[in-house]
């Protein structure tokens, strides 16, 4: 660990921000086209974020500010750990549990700050977000657990590297087809895309946790959202779709995967939160358990593969 690691880390943050924000802008356009609209400019997301940072803001006490900083700090730390096409700013710290729990720091910070605003909508939104998390995480973690057991590694980078070199057939999404489906559904839940976006329902609970944010706080939330999207999509990409051998392959796959979720979400209605839980605990959970049992007891797809 030396100064270069931190410099790399910082550069990763900047690059990820630019890449993901651009992609988000493009995806806004995709959504618009799905709705037969012209849509916003591709750089609209940058404009929105900078505008928010430019504005004045209101604060509801120190925890409101502290939570925002803690959230962004935790999320940025997580981004630094994500291996991108074999590159890691801090090698060896890409343990899947570290990433998924460090992500929780950011979420906790955000939840804390939101609830600290004193607005009941925010608390309701947080309650829904946490419930949603409980729903999507269990099937996903079961599949990831299966993978760790099968490949004897919990390192995201290593797991990604193991899938490369066999083309599409090497992807875990193909080796464990049920697990791959679960992962994509869970990704929708993670990203808060429809049909699992009840926690930020704008018309119902006034955008939930975001309700009291304005100005730079809101800007922070947008930046945080971009980073969080990157972490979540990258996690699924690395674990199930083989990551990328080169940075370009990675970016391409990433863009496809992310756009795919956008397209799905563009044609979906919204689940109530208890419906989301029921759904996740019926279909994806069953699929995940079946997948787990198949892999653990038969090795089919992992140890036995062509």
């Amino acid at each position: 660990m030396n100064a270069m690691n931190f410099v790399y880390g910082f550069l990763v943050l900047v690059a990820v921000f630019i890449f993901q924000t651009t992609l988000t802008g493009i995806n806004r356009k995709v959504t618009a086209r799905l709705q037969k609209r012209y849509g916003a400019r591709w750089y609209q997301q940058f404009l929105d974020i900078f505008k928010a940072m430019r504005k004045d803001s209101t604060s509801h006490g120190w925890v409101f500010d502290f939570g925002v900083i803690m959230a962004l700090g935790g999320i940025m730390a997580t981004v630094i750990f994500i291996p991108v096409a074999g590159f890691e700013a801090f090698p060896g710290l890409d343990n899947v549990f570290v990433i998924s729990y460090l992500l929780a720091v950011g979420m906790l910070g955000m939840a804390m700050s939101a609830a600290g605003s004193g607005n009941p909508w925010a608390s309701i939104g947080v309650a829904r977000a946490l419930t949603n998390m409980l729903a999507y995480d269990i099937p996903l973690m079961i599949v990831i657990f299966t993978m760790i057991f099968a490949f004897d590694s919990a390192s995201v980078g290593e797991l990604a590297a193991m899938q490369q070199g066999m083309g599409v057939l090497g992807w875990n999404a193909v080796r464990m087809p049920l697990g791959g489906i679960v992962a994509v559904i869970a990704l929708l839940g993670m990203l808060g895309k429809k049909p699992f976006d009840s926690f930020i329902a704008p018309a119902e609970i006034a955008s939930g946790p975001m309700v009291e944010y304005g100005g730079k706080h809101l800007g922070f939330m947008f930046i945080l959202h971009e980073f969080m999207t990157f972490i979540e999509v990258s996690l699924i990409l690395n674990l199930f779709f083989g990551g990328g051998a080169t940075i370009w392959e990675y970016m391409l796959k990433y863009a496809v995967l992310y756009t795919f979720t956008t397209i799905i979400s563009g044609v979906m209605p919204r689940f109530k939160i208890d419906q989301a839980v029921k759904y996740f605990y019926r279909v994806p959970l069953a699929m995940a358990v079946v997948q787990g049992l198949v892999v653990i007891f038969t090795g089919l797809g992992v140890k036995i593969w062509f």
Binding site: R28, A32, Q35, K36, R37, Y38, G39, A40, R41, Q44, L47, D48, F50, K51, A52, R54, K55, D56, S57, T58, P202, A203, A206, S207, M210, V211, E212, Y213, G214, G215, L218
Partner: protein
């Protein structure tokens, strides 16, 4: 509204105004009948997102307060409350004739006639009610004004706060508050 002030913004402010102009988030105050014109403006026929505009859920997030029609004195209190929750720079758009001069409710005891007595309106979109084309046109104008630094209603409100306050209080009269259910 004083429009002939000299442009004395700093470069940073100019950049900031550029961002503000291209990302106009609105809080719609939809108690009036004009709100019905917003969905077509938003959806595929007119698609306001082209201009970086969009509806927001709360006043904290929004830049523009859009008053879509008449305001009774009871709702005026809420509008002022919402406006004061917004973060600067913030803009007010009066929508429809009612906000200009009371429209068909000009002689009602319960509504106010001129919105800019109470809040610093940056732009009026006249008509009863204005069609989406008019709305788009109006917003294009607003964006232009913001870009040039001419939409300075929020500064004006700050500078003439007493005057606005007096007008607001005159219109509202005395409000006796017991609790949230009885006032």
């Amino acid at each position: 509204m004083v429009l002939d002030e000299k442009d004395n913004r700093s470069p940073w402010e100019k950049i900031g105004d550029y961002f503000s102009a291209n990302s106009v988030w609105m809080k719609w105050y939809c108690t009036g009948c004009g709100a019905i014109e917003m969905p077509p403006t938003m959806t595929s026929r007119f698609d306001m997102e082209r201009l970086g505009m969009g509806p927001m859920a709360t006043p904290r997030q929004a830049d523009v307060l859009l008053i879509t029609g008449y305001l009774s004195t009871k709702t005026l209190r809420r509008v002022i409350y919402s406006y004061e929750q917004m973060n600067s720079p913030r803009y007010v758009v009066g929508f429809g004739s009612c906000t200009v001069n009371g429209g068909i409710y000009y002689d009602s005891y319960a509504t106010i006639n001129r919105l800019d007595m109470y809040l610093p309106v940056d732009l009026y979109i006249a008509g009863c009610m204005p069609r989406p084309e008019a709305i788009m046109n109006g917003f294009a104008k607003l964006i232009d004004m913001i870009k040039k630094g001419e939409a300075r209603g929020w500064r004006h409100y700050q500078e003439n706060y007493e005057w606005y306050k007096k007008n607001q209080l005159d219109s509202l009269g005395e409000v006796i508050i017991k609790d949230e259910f009885h006032e």
